[in-house]
Symmetry: C2
Subunit: 184 residues, 2 copies
């Protein structure tokens, strides 16, 4: 089974080494990990802008895979990387299994309050809002409910676990996702 | 044509008033705007958790619509709201038209540098990276390339325009999306 490995690790200087480590974990569970930087199934037209070729290559990768595992570790804010989340929604709409994980165990409300600091203020109804009076989600979830909901609707799990060491290279929660996808 | 109105306005205290204003713009272009908080086509099972019922309602809304317009205005960080981005990826995978807009005109690199401040540092290759050595995208786009790429692949546009007044209630860029979707 081919599994697309969505996540912001593509931005790391040693992205290919991280990809290789994730692929080894996949292989130990009988899965073939497909990393966004792998050569796509069909090369997009060379006259397209570089970024559009990357986009089309990733879309083709996702369509070629039978499942997706998303690294939803918070990225430059309280939520996951938006590129990863786009790919998660895309795969859910294709009706295939998805799983997600984060190397931060805290729930979304706690993380958002931490991000906003003093700008997070209590509402009369017991919830919280930001400086623009926009409410904070408080469902005990890992991220925005569309993320947790999409994973649940697809029968997957959102594995959260505080990283031991480097948060982009701790693969314990990722491995739990692999085991779950392999069980089917 | 039914158009799903994805965006973080659901978190505003006057979300229903903002929804009504967006629906009026849709109607002026011959479109029927569908807001996430509208009653879903079919009520999810009452025994499900509240957040899961919201998720399934939104998914049903998206499947019932022929197009999607995403409010991609930066939300608690340099990127768009992840719930909105999930929905954008979902609709793109369904193969239907999508459009996006933001009431912040600056490109993604400038916004990410602004968000990171002194933590954004130059790389030897001329680009920038953050404090974890993760690269910053620099393609002159509105957000992560998966967002701009998905909209472009679907034949849509990402309209960016600095808000005059309140950034959640300026509908000029939204109206350009409506006009484009209505033209087909």
């Amino acid at each position: 089974m081919r599994v697309y490995l969505a996540g912001p690790e593509v931005f790391l200087p040693d992205a290919l080494e991280v990809a290789a480590a994730k692929k080894r974990v996949c292989a130990a569970h009988g899965l073939e990990g497909v990393f966004p930087l792998d050569p796509p199934p069909a090369a997009p037209p060379a006259e397209m802008p570089y970024w559009m070729r990357i986009y089309l290559g990733n879309e083709a990768h996702i369509r070629s895979c039978q499942a997706l595992i998303a690294n939803l570790t918070p990225f430059r804010g309280p939520s996951a990387d938006v590129g990863t989340v786009y790919e998660l929604g895309f795969m859910r709409a294709l009706g295939r299994p998805v799983a997600g994980y984060s190397t931060a165990a805290a729930d979304f409300l706690a993380r958002t309050r931490g991000f906003l600091g003093a700008a997070a203020r209590p509402r009369a109804d017991g919830g919280f809002e930001d400086a623009e009076s926009m409410g904070l989600e408080d469902f005990g979830l890992g991220d925005n409910l569309m993320i947790d909901g999409g994973i649940a609707a697809a029968g997957g799990a959102f594995e959260r676990h505080d990283a031991a060491g480097d948060r982009w290279r701790d693969l314990a929660a990722f491995e739990r996702c692999c085991a779950r996808i392999a069980r089917g």
